[in-house]
Symmetry: C2
Subunit: 378 residues, 2 copies
Amino acid sequence: MAESMTETEQRPSGVPYPGTPEGRRGTGDPGFAPHDGQEAPELLERSRALVDPAMRAAVESLPASMRRIARYHFGWEHVDGSPAAGHAGKAIRPALVLAAAAALGGPAARAAAVPAAAAVELVHNFTLLHDDVMDRDPTRRHRPTAWTVFGDADAILAGDAIQALALRLLAEDPHPAAAPAAARLADCVMELCAGQHTDTDLEHRAPEEVTLDEVLAMAEAKTGALLGCACALGALYAGAGPEEVAALDGFGRQAGLAFQLIDDVIGIWGEPLRTGKPAGADLAARKKSLPVVAALVSGTPAAAELAALYGKPYITGDSEGIARTALAVERAGGRDWAQTEAADRMARAMQELARAIPDPEAAGGLLALAEFVTRRSS
Amino acid sequence: MAESMTETEQRPSGVPYPGTPEGRRGTGDPGFAPHDGQEAPELLERSRALVDPAMRAAVESLPASMRRIARYHFGWEHVDGSPAAGHAGKAIRPALVLAAAAALGGPAARAAAVPAAAAVELVHNFTLLHDDVMDRDPTRRHRPTAWTVFGDADAILAGDAIQALALRLLAEDPHPAAAPAAARLADCVMELCAGQHTDTDLEHRAPEEVTLDEVLAMAEAKTGALLGCACALGALYAGAGPEEVAALDGFGRQAGLAFQLIDDVIGIWGEPLRTGKPAGADLAARKKSLPVVAALVSGTPAAAELAALYGKPYITGDSEGIARTALAVERAGGRDWAQTEAADRMARAMQELARAIPDPEAAGGLLALAEFVTRRSS
């Protein structure tokens, strides 16, 4: 099944960059493969080198009791307070902030946007802390979640404090974009909250009561909104006008939806080695992910079979049941739909990006990161 | 016992205003009774008239799912969405913002500070929503708490969204004080979180492991910090310098501690009719309130008796046990200490206020509000 997954992942790469009908120039690559130091892993590494010190300095300013929980959550410390080597995820969002700032305003804008990048990553992590409490998720980044270690109350409080920390970084930043960036980030938090609310609500509803528009809107609010906000903040720090900011927000949102679609495909068909998530995990949890809902609303015989399977709770170890469920999603067209939709969303993302940044050379970093998020799931 | 409570409440009134050794001039009142339209109820009413529309407009901008929970929490709507007449508490914090702005900058500063007043009240309410989840409090302002109605997840999410809304109000405010006010409010949120953490932590510890300094620090962080922040924000909007801002913060903090001490006395000795809180409620819950901890650390024979009583769980309906416990707190000096400490804190509050605003005429509104909070418990 890993083969098909590879196909899924590479499909978006086939979308040509709208600004250059002939595709990327001078790289010999038909898609938008990275070039000239704009490889995604290198961009992520450079972004972390800039943003990590700002994040750590910010966390240092938390009251001691909150700092301890934050350091654990970020993977900087073990529970006993001893230093841990792990870093906190890929940090794709701060990299998007810096790449957007650099694309529209060059290296000076990238340097200026570091507080905004740190603020976006802090917001992302505050929502993770709270979502884990609500979803009762026991692990995150291969470690026990904060609520399992410190209790619900402390995980909620640390999340609250980290949201405040994010917005304080912007309030203290003298950059002229700091205030509009703070307003936009706060707006995004409200959208993230509404998205998480809808997610919880959809999970409590019967499969036949959930529409595809609802899960798409939920995924946009939960995943697309913050990726869009990250790009928009970078644009604001580059002094971009409202239209460019809106286009970059759209780019991030559509790329975020493509990412979520592919993440949902991985949640059903693997691949466990790369993601740490066993194939079928989302099916075992009876999760109403995007391919599942697309399958359920397809009106096919397989949809009826899937609805019947989802109506019964998963019995631990029933790998045959999971395989049958995955096959039903596939036969009902859920997998094809998700792959096509992901490619479509990536195409829309490219259009938005070309609207703001017609030069594919300048857009290279953002393109590389968008491709990267739709290839990885963490 | 209501008589003694009256004595407690009036003690702070006896503290002369440091700026005028002869006390308040021209009112014939030996304390700092309100005058010239600066009566606290009138100030609160005028503040609500200014701040309520800003609060409602802000809540309107929340996503629909979050708005519904916010409107219920604020008492503007019943669960079914029909309008409710109730208003959301006394709203002392926004009144302090406006009174501080007016005292240092006149009516123009008061009008300009409305967004800051709304932001402070939104922050207060976000913490109430979350604290109720953590403390499993079933009622607030005589209504079922949001988590009992909408579930934990929605109450957490609505709190998150309301924090973001508060900071967005300041991020969108073009006033030159808006950014420093936002930074200060965000700092205050972190302190509130640390205070709630300590509160939860102290409640889980054995009575003999809790020191008076710890509960005082907790009360300052949980209650004093936001009252101080409210006054500081008003001063910032009046264009005050760092020393005046710090003095007003100190005023609010000390008044907040006085309030908490008196609230804790009411939590033991009543009065249920005025507060809706039955006498002895805090003792039944084995709460480590300020008078109880002062009693426990007194080294008296009554302290040992109190420790023994607190070591056993409360049996519903055991009013005799509650009466014995209250008597032990009193005999161990907990009540006297709390009353003296409250008066001392009010005196310190007066000193801080006189430092920033030597003219008692200008300070009248803040004085009236400080006296009011130490007389009421809601």
